[in-house]
């Protein structure tokens, strides 16, 4: 994130993810009951919500998705987390925008990273440094 223009664009994109009820919401002092219930609604409970028709696609799993699946399963077999923490609560805890905005296995891998940090298996600084190191390695190729 070096160029200021790039930073500005990124900030605009982030602002566009703000929950909006036709007007942007930011630090409300009064939240009525229906809105409160809507905010507290767990993102995975989508049954009965209206949606536009979407194209049905038969998508094959990609390697990173399979790797993610196996990683999360192995963490379960080692007793690091259980299925309810893993697939359900941790995914929900990513928040509404992230839950809906990234691919299915993207939720899983972010939730796994978060859990490993939360439970003190790795440190956040350690993880960020490792990701930066790997990114730099790929950039050289």
């Amino acid at each position: 994130m070096s160029a200021r223009r790039e930073l500005r664009q990124q900030q605009e994109l982030i602002a566009s993810l703000q929950p909006a009820l036709h007007v942007p919401q930011n630090w409300n002092y009064e939240v009525d009951s229906p809105l409160y219930k809507a905010y507290l609604h767990p993102p995975h409970d989508v049954g009965g919500q209206f949606d536009a028709p979407i194209l049905y696609e038969e998508k094959e799993e990609e390697q990173w998705e399979l790797n993610t699946y196996v990683t999360c399963e192995v963490l379960g077999w080692r007793g690091i987390w259980n299925s309810e923490e893993r697939r359900r609560r941790a995914d929900n805890d990513l928040g509404y925008a992230l839950y809906l905005g990234i691919p299915y296995y993207g939720r899983w891998i972010l939730a796994a990273a978060r859990m490993l940090v939360d439970k003190n298996h790795i440190s956040l600084a350690e993880l960020a440094e490792k990701i930066a190191e790997v990114k730099a390695r790929y950039a050289k190729k």
Binding site: P42, G47, G48, N82, S83, E84, R88, R89, N92
Partner: protein
């Protein structure tokens, strides 16, 4: 899907099942706080117990890795028309699963 921790018999604290197959039950509408697996569209709706399945941890505990509180689960059958008033077919039903604490008895 293997569970991370097998359930021990000594953890079974649920006692006798409160409902039996055929009982009319209403799904409670308890507040959502951080996590729930009880769908919004069944809350407050009356259905029929279709099966007593097993005893297991309740989602609110398992989601935070708390052990020890096993509870009876039920498969509850709803009329689609009770869930979605505009639904066109009278005989169609929908089944979903719920632990005991989310159900209350309905006098028939």
């Amino acid at each position: 899907m293997p569970k991370s921790k097998p359930l021990k018999k000594s953890q079974n604290t649920a006692g006798k099942a409160r409902f039996k197959v055929g009982d009319r039950v209403r799904v409670k509408d308890m507040p959502n706080l951080f996590y729930s697996r009880t769908q919004m569209y069944v809350r407050g709706v009356v259905g029929t117990v279709a099966a007593c399945t097993y005893k297991d941890l309740i989602p609110e505990d398992e989601a935070f890795n708390r052990d020890g509180r096993l509870e009876q689960y039920y498969i509850v059958r709803f009329r689609q028309k009770d869930l979605w008033p505009e639904y066109p077919f009278d005989n169609d039903t929908l089944q979903t699963e719920s632990p005991e604490r989310w159900l209350e008895p309905v006098e028939s």
